[in-house]
């Protein structure tokens, strides 16, 4: 079996046809995971029973594989009367799963902000909510652009797991081609290169964003 470049090129349009689905799932999951993760982190910081529960929840999420989560959401929840579509399950599953990781990232980002920032804001009489939105969150973002970008890349790379839910994303398309033609090397290499390209693109964009965020305010 030789690597057939012409065949590889012929698979590109089919595989790229699913790039929209892959990007949609990845983008929605990145936003969802960030939002849920930030919420979880705020609850954890507020302490109390809710904080303890969230602490456990975050470690629980981190201690279990994403695939099992997707299975549970898709195949087990319907037994309890909750029926989500495959796409919704995939996006919710990835969002929930990675929210545990992003909560950790947010924690580190917030911990790195000197105490004095919140104190100065409190001393000015600014309310808790406003401190979080206007003082903590923007500074946190500057601290965590890089690790957050890493997890965005991870989310992108996790989209092939949605194959178990019959969501037609790029790697699934590549396997479709493979199972029709029984040539594996070409479609998988093409899919691999597209994923690698997308991942590098995201990393690069995050680096640019980080530089812009730090721009005039860094010393």
């Amino acid at each position: 079996m030789q690597f057939d470049v012409a065949f590889a090129l012929s698979t590109v349009p089919t595989i790229l046809g699913a790039i929209g689905m892959t990007l949609l799932v990845a983008a929605v999951s990145c936003v969802g995971a960030s939002a849920i993760g930030f919420g979880l982190e705020l609850i954890r910081r507020s302490g109390g029973l809710g904080g303890l529960f969230v602490r456990f929840l975050i470690d629980f999420i981190r201690a279990t594989p994403v695939l099992v989560w997707l299975y549970c959401l898709y195949f087990i929840l319907p037994f309890y009367g909750i029926r989500l579509g495959a796409l919704a399950t995939g996006m919710i599953g990835l969002s929930l799963y990675y929210s545990g990781y992003l909560a950790e990232v947010f924690k580190a980002g917030i911990d790195a902000i000197p105490n004095g920032q919140a104190e100065a804001a409190r001393a000015l009489g600014i309310g808790r909510m406003d401190i979080t939105i206007f003082v903590i969150a923007p500074q946190m973002l500057r601290n965590i652009a890089a690790p957050m970008g890493n997890y965005f890349v991870s989310i992108l790379k996790a989209t092939p797991y949605l194959a178990v839910l019959a969501v037609p994303e790029m790697l699934g398309r590549a396997f479709d081609i493979a199972s029709e033609t029984y040539r594996y090397a070409e479609p998988l290499t093409v899919a691999g290169l597209i994923f690698l390209g997308l991942a590098l693109l995201i990393s690069h964009a995050i680096k640019r964003l980080e530089i812009r965020l730090l721009g005039p305010t860094a010393r």
Partner: protein
């Protein structure tokens, strides 16, 4: 040394399976290979002194790549003969006729008895990604949007149970094996599920193209086993009947079409 010579010398053959009843699976109790093709292989090679059947379990999609990469000597997991596959591997004599069958909820509430019902009632159908059933369904007019393609059979069953699909279309031996396991509470096979002869496929053991001598040996042994009734016994063991018998007119060459002629 060819693969055949090595196998005979070592008394061991390595087969690839994707762990699927009744095709080829690891027995939970003994850890040995069982199933339609492993049983035939064992019977075929035992007399030649090849006593050990070493199994490599992998995903269905990795069976042919694994064979080509030399990870095992044969795929003994119910692979169907198709012209595309013939370009990659060398199939032995077809040994089982396979047609589509369907599993539905007990009582078959939507009265599904063929692809026409699925098309006319706009039923959501499940099937295995890359399986022959998908191709048959497409030809029969089932729109892509009404098919959910899962990577494995458990997912199909789970999806059926959780109401995500109304029917899953699988190969008849698979359905027979599933129902024989007695684990499909609340499910049954859609009886009858009408198919045409054009939709039928034929399973065979697959070898590497360059191992022509090994394939020839297998074909020879398989013929002998058919004659002495061993094949019939194995068929009965897995609940296969008349409908699964391969007609004499069907040959590898015909099934491979022009593609097989290249080899």
């Amino acid at each position: 040394e060819t693969a055949k010579e090595r196998i005979l010398r070592e008394g061991k053959i390595v087969i690839g399976i994707h762990n699927r009843t009744p095709w080829g699976f690891r027995d939970e109790a003994t850890g040995e290979a069982k199933g339609w093709h492993p049983d035939l292989l064992r019977a075929a090679f035992a007399e030649l002194g090849v006593k050990e059947i070493d199994i490599r379990v992998t995903e269905f999609g990795a069976l042919i790549p694994g064979l080509l990469a030399g990870r095992f000597d044969a795929v003994a997991s119910g692979l169907s003969i198709t012209p595309e596959r013939c370009r990659q591997v060398a199939f032995g004599t077809p040994d089982l006729k396979v047609h589509d069958a369907a599993i539905v909820l007990t009582g078959n509430p939507k009265q599904i008895h063929g692809f026409e019902d699925i098309v006319s009632q706009k039923i959501i159908m499940g099937a295995g990604r890359g399986s022959v059933s998908v191709r048959n369904a497409t030809v029969a007019g089932v729109p892509e949007g009404n098919m959910l393609l899962f990577p494995d059979i458990e997912a199909n069953i789970s999806a059926l149970r959780s109401g995500r699909i109304d029917v899953t279309v699988l190969s008849s031996p698979t359905v027979i094996g599933l129902l024989a396991s007695g684990k499909l509470k609340g499910l049954e096979s859609a009886d009858p599920f009408v198919t045409t002869d054009e939709q039928a496929t034929y399973a065979a053991v697959a070898f590497r193209s360059e191992d022509g001598d090994l394939r020839a040996l297998w074909d020879e042994r398989l013929l002998a086993l058919t004659k002495d009734g061993t094949v019939g016994k194995v068929m009965a063991r897995y609940g296969f009947g008349e409908t699964e018998v391969v007609p004499d007119t069907v040959t590898v060459e015909k099934l491979c079409g022009t593609a097989g002629a290249d080899k």
